[in-house]
């Protein structure tokens, strides 16, 4: 049971709530969503209380994340895309904090749930669709008609463009979900080897060194993945928002 690598993803109810026959319980997943939001907000708030002209270390980190996302969005979607800055910044900080919190042993990883990443991806695509149609009306559909394509190929190209657009929320959500899930399972499996081999006596303890080294190395890798996936999520969000701001601009 303790070695079951999927046990860490199990949702457990803390405060059962049921409304209209649907289960809305406050679970360990909800707890870590609250923790993620609280940790990220508290860090960004308290690191900037002094509003120093010369930043302290933590203020510098907060400013760096701000400027990191600001330059990413400006490059990805231009200065018109900057109105989406709070959204991209929230998404990045939420995913990054959730991923990083998930690296603590016994902590629940919010982003290892497909429904969470899918909801975040739908939020992005929904924003692109709503803003795109609001701003450009039917001109937003130019997104699916690239310039300079010969008329005969146009139906094919448009079909491909539409399929690619529709697959975006899936690829965006599955990428984050699968990375977090696979990383945590691998980590758990190798750590499980250490525990089970260690219980086999002297020879087993000697043999457990290899998976232990793997576990340490994978932990480092997982921290990289945790950051990288938050970064990738934010970059793709910027790219998709660019379509909403400048449809047919590619």
């Amino acid at each position: 049971m303790a070695n079951d690598p999927t046990h860490q993803f199990l949702i457990q109810k803390i405060v059962p709530i049921e409304i209209g026959g649907i289960d809305f319980s406050f679970t360990n997943a909800s707890l870590f969503m609250v923790a993620t939001v609280a940790a990220a907000s508290a860090f960004l708030y308290f690191s900037t209380t002094s509003r120093g002209l010369i930043p302290t270390r933590s203020q510098s980190v907060a400013e760096m994340s701000y400027e990191f996302i600001a330059s990413m969005l400006r490059e990805g979607a231009g200065s018109q895309g900057m109105k989406f800055f709070p959204m991209v910044f929230s998404l990045f900080m939420f995913v990054l904090t959730a991923n990083m919190l998930g690296m603590f042993p016994y902590f629940f990883t919010v982003t290892s749930q497909i429904i969470v990443t899918f909801a975040l991806a739908l939020f992005v695509i929904g924003t692109v669709l709503v803003y795109g149609f609001y701003k450009h009306g039917l001109g937003f559909l130019n997104l699916f008609v690239p310039h300079g394509v010969p008329g005969a190929l146009l139906p094919l190209v448009v079909t491909i463009e539409i399929i690619s657009f529709l697959s975006r929320p899936i690829s965006l959500s599955v990428r984050l979900f699968a990375n977090m899930l696979a990383g945590h399972i691998t980590l758990k499996v190798f750590a499980g080897f250490v525990a089970s081999l260690g219980s086999l006596g002297a020879l087993g303890i000697g043999g457990a060194i290899l998976p232990l080294i793997m576990t340490v190395a994978l932990t480092g890798l997982e921290f990289l993945v945790a950051f990288l996936q938050a970064y990738v999520f934010a970059v793709l969000t910027c790219m998709y928002l660019n379509d909403a701001v400048h449809p047919g601009g590619h």
């Binding site: 059962p16 709530i17 209209g20 289960d23 809305f24 939001v37 907000s41 509003r51 959204m87």
Partner: protein
């Protein structure tokens, strides 16, 4: 407007919650009991059926609701508090740096102006010094020239006087030479012939001898 999906997710849930709030309160005890039994069922079902936890659809509604609530709050906190705050700090610093650069530029142009004035004054002073030195040199030269001319004139005058005197003495000496020669010749002739010689003959002889010598 770009929060619409999040709001759209949270609004029906919010209204549902508000609508059922009183209901849940009125018969809270049985509801809790019910959910307890359900928890057990869900738990057992989760293990018995072996559904992979992330794909367990019974948890989706709860996760969506809590994600909408937490992320919605997070979004609002970011938009209303954090982003203006950090943006303000960065803008403030940017303004301050720009201001300092302007100030530095102003001070530099002031320094440049000061250097220019200094150099202008230096050039003027140098030119003035040159004219003063030039006039002094010219004056000194003129004075030296005048002095030298005076000295030369004096020397020439003295030289002329000396030459005149030498000439005078020479002429007198030459005049004396004739008389001495005549006397000597008369005396020599006296001794040789034992009688006085004619004075006119001696004078002619001396004159012809001295003419021969000179020629």
């Amino acid at each position: 407007m770009f929060v619409t999906p999040a709001h759209a997710e949270s609004t029906p849930a919010g209204t549902a919650e508000a609508g059922h709030g009183t209901e849940a309160e009125t018969h809270g005890a049985p509801a809790v009991g019910e959910t307890h039994t359900e928890t057990g069922v869900a738990h057992d079902a989760g293990h018995e059926t072996g559904v992979f936890p992330p794909f367990d659809q019974t948890t989706f509604a709860s996760q969506l609701l809590w994600l909408a609530i937490t992320f919605g709050i997070f979004y609002i906190v970011m938009q209303k508090v954090i982003v203006p705050r950090i943006g303000g700090i960065l803008e403030n610093r940017h303004d301050r740096i720009a201001q300092d650069l302007d100030e530095a530029g102003r001070l530099k142009s002031e320094a440049d102006a000061a250097i220019e004035t200094y150099e202008k004054e230096l050039a003027a002073a140098r030119a003035k010094a040159n004219t003063i030195a030039g006039t002094a040199r010219d004056a000194a030269k003129a004075k030296a020239d005048a002095d030298r001319a005076a000295v030369e004139a004096e020397l020439a005058q003295k030289l002329a006087a000396a030459e005149a005197r030498i000439g005078e003495i020479k002429a007198k000496a030459f005049a004396d030479v004739g008389a001495i020669a005549e006397e000597t010749a008369t005396a020599i002739v006296d001794q040789l012939i034992g009688g006085p010689a004619a004075k006119a003959d001696v004078a002619t002889a001396v004159a012809s001898a001295s003419a021969k010598q000179e020629g």
